[in-house]
């Protein structure tokens, strides 16, 4: 136990502060400090998932900025979708989206969810979230960096 506590104290706080402008923007949002997001993998290669996981590490610490990954779509304000939307995930994706209460936002994460990426044109994928849902925002990148994802989350929820 001692070793563990010592390590915690020695490590200190690593979380990087968002830039002043970003923070101000996010403060004014409807979901200020309490954005619940649900992730659906619609057939990604798991590269985007690695970066979504990275949002939870001490450097980005999305939860300390009020962005929280929730287990049920019914608790969510936003749906993050990754992958080129495989036929096999189509129905599950729609059902998950329907379960998210209004007002909700849908965000496409990564090149595959934006337009199918390298998998576009295959018999097994629909190719891009737009084919089934209207995304409120898109984060291109293969995979997009955690910073890109955070920036879009902040922007998508800024009051206009």
């Amino acid at each position: 136990m001692w070793k563990l506590l010592k390590k915690i104290i020695k490590t200190g706080i690593l979380t990087e502060k968002p830039s002043h402008r970003d923070e101000k923007e996010f403060q004014r949002t409807a979901f200020s400090k309490s954005l619940a997001v649900r992730h659906v993998d619609a057939g990604s290669c798991n590269g985007c998932e690695l970066e979504l996981w990275a949002l939870e590490n001490p450097y980005y610490s999305a939860s300390s900025q009020g962005i929280k990954f929730v287990a049920s779509p019914r608790h969510a304000d936003a749906l993050l979708v990754t992958g080129p939307i495989t036929h096999a995930m189509h129905e599950a994706l729609l059902k998950t989206q329907e379960a998210v209460p209004n007002p909700r936002r849908v965000i496409a994460i990564g090149d595959c969810a934006c337009d199918g990426g390298v998998f576009a044109g295959s018999y097994a994928v629909l190719g891009g979230l737009e084919v089934v849902l209207t995304p409120d925002a898109k984060v291109p990148g293969c995979p997009p960096t955690p910073q890109d994802i955070l920036n879009i989350l902040r922007k998508a929820f800024a009051r206009t």
Binding site: S44, C45, G47, W53, A92, C142, P143
Partner: protein
């Protein structure tokens, strides 16, 4: 390259140690009797089945890969039509039980029928097509409709009895997880049986490879499983290079081996944190998450990509390491080694953690041997297979990493193997950096005048990763297939779960950490 080494002969079984990779050869079969006999032979000499796939052009064939201690054998069976007009081949499932899901996949995608396969259920077919999408000629139906193709309700094996109930989970999971379905048969808190239903991430990769150039193919190979991008890129590069009879320079081999270790470190660090977290120690997730993020940032700084996407390419490597970068990476390695050892002591001394780890999710060495399990999971169940040791490949034979082995087969064993491998990986990375020969960036290779084939196999962070390509003249991919070790490991997870509590499933699953995308292709 030592020119005195003869190349692998494609016809016979002469597996001569090679500098440029694991010895690997094609073994053609014209009839099913010799094919089955050969498979049984390979099994009796200790061969491990790694996977099976099909190709349609120029004519239907089945490829089965079996790994021996000496190298990889790829049995190639040409298919003939039966009386009903279907392409039929004998099922290997009685010799290698793991062949079952692969053969079901081939039936779903190509319509080639495995004779003697008991499991007639579809696998990647989720009732979204009525004609096998890769059939020959395109659009051919299976005349003898033996499978339950097109059925929306998948017949899970059910356990019946008083008090037994079923828990369906997925394909959308409660977290940041890939899609897949698990069906638990439960008595109270105890799992009696779990069955996987995968294929939700099926993207038609085999179809997408067709007609692409080598470089386009490399881009696709890098995205078969994002967490193993180096492994798949490297296997693909090896396959193309074997097909083109091209041997990369020592500098390229060093850099590739180094990148592969970076990927192993990144994933093992992430897994150790996630496993600790699933056992209730949030401290583990933040500490290992920190180490992983620092590694990723170094990757971005020195290689321009956090996860090392698109750096390993056929013919060479896309990066250059200067002396300042090498010095910086050496410092990082020393620091990481110290930190990991410190965290390992915390893990070892933590009673609560060890209580969750030990005797949870046991994959016994006997079952692991019977199923031919390799990789981290296999080594945690006393399976002494690691392509990096025991072969003459350069640069591994210069600084062979010690085999990380554990015998209990539980979550604790898989944690221990990961800790050991991180240390060995750091030693190997240090040795590679200290003896770095020369920086070579090459992306030129000969253009093939004829149709040629090649295979590549490397030890990724999960286990053996295989790539096969057939090139048309001029470097266009006619067909290609990748094997992620996950495909062999998923059935092993089903064997490790029964008898455990439902609440322990996430922990056991995490300790396997398998790829859905790499499995579903």
């Amino acid at each position: 390259m030592d020119s005195s080494l003869p190349p692998v002969s494609p016809g016979g079984l002469c597996l001569i140690p090679l500098e440029e990779g694991i010895p690997r050869c094609f073994f053609p079969h014209e009839n099913s009797a010799t094919y089955l006999e050969h498979a049984a032979d390979l099994k009796s000499t200790g061969g491990r089945f790694l996977g099976l796939w099909a190709s349609a052009s120029p004519f239907p064939r089945i490829y089965s890969s079996v790994l021996l201690k000496e190298g990889l054998i790829l049995m190639v069976l040409s298919l003939g039509k039966d009386a009903a007009g279907d392409f039929v081949y004998p099922s290997l499932s009685r010799i290698f039980p793991s062949a079952s899901r692969f053969e079901r996949t081939v039936r779903d995608l190509f319509g080639f029928i495995p004779a003697g396969l008991e499991d007639q259920r579809p696998w990647v077919d989720h009732a979204h097509w009525s004609i096998p999408p890769l059939s020959v000629p395109p659009g051919t139906r299976i005349s003898s409709q033996t499978s339950s193709m097109g059925r929306p309700d998948y017949p899970f094996v059910r356990v019946k009895g008083p008090g037994i109930h079923e828990i369906p989970v997925g394909p959308v999971h409660a977290g940041i997880i890939e899609p897949g379905h698990f069906r638990f048969q439960v008595l109270g808190e105890k799992i009696l049986r779990v069955e996987e239903r995968l294929g939700y991430a099926h993207k038609g990769v085999d179809g997408l490879f067709r007609g692409r150039t080598i470089m386009e193919g490399a881009k696709l190979a890098a995205r078969i499983s994002g967490d193993s991008t180096v492994a798949h890129s490297l296997a693909f590069a090896q396959a193309v290079e074997q097909a083109l009879d091209f041997i990369p320079a020592a500098g390229v081999r060093f850099m590739r081996a180094f990148l592969l270790e970076r990927e192993r470190l990144m994933n093992h660090l992430g897994d150790l944190g996630a496993i600790g977290n699933d056992a209730g120690l949030a401290f583990a997730l933040s500490q290992f998450g920190r180490l992983k993020e620092e590694l990723l940032r170094k990757n971005h700084l020195h290689f321009g990509s956090r996860y090392l996407f698109d750096l390993v390419r056929p013919g060479g490597i896309a990066i250059f390491l200067g002396d300042p970068a090498i010095r910086d990476l050496l410092t990082e390695i020393a620091r990481l080694l110290e930190e990991v050892l410190e965290l390992q002591r915390i893990y070892d001394d933590h009673g609560g953690l060890q209580d969750r780890f030990q005797n949870t999710g046991i994959l016994s060495p006997e079952i692991a041997t019977r199923m031919g399990i390799g990789g981290v999971v296999g080594r945690a169940s006393a399976q002494a297979w690691d392509l990096r040791s025991g072969h003459r490949c350069d640069p591994y034979h210069r600084f062979p990493p010690a085999l990380a082995l554990a015998h209990t087969g539980d979550v604790a064993a898989r944690v221990r193997v990961r800790f050991l491998e991180i240390q060995e990986s750091l030693f190997l990375s240090r040795a590679l950096l200290e003896h770095f020969p020369e920086n070579v960036i090459k992306e030129e290779f000969p253009i093939n005048p004829d149709i040629t084939e090649g295979i590549g196999i490397i030890e990724g962070f999960r286990g053996e990763t295989v790539s096969w390509v057939r090139l048309s003249p001029g470097g266009i991919i006619q067909a290609a297939h990748h094997l992620d070790p996950s495909a062999i490991l998923w059935p092993a997870l089903e064997m490790a779960v029964p008898g455990n509590l439902v609440a322990d499933f996430p922990l056991i699953n995490k300790s396997f950490n398998l790829s859905y995308s790499g499995n579903d292709l």
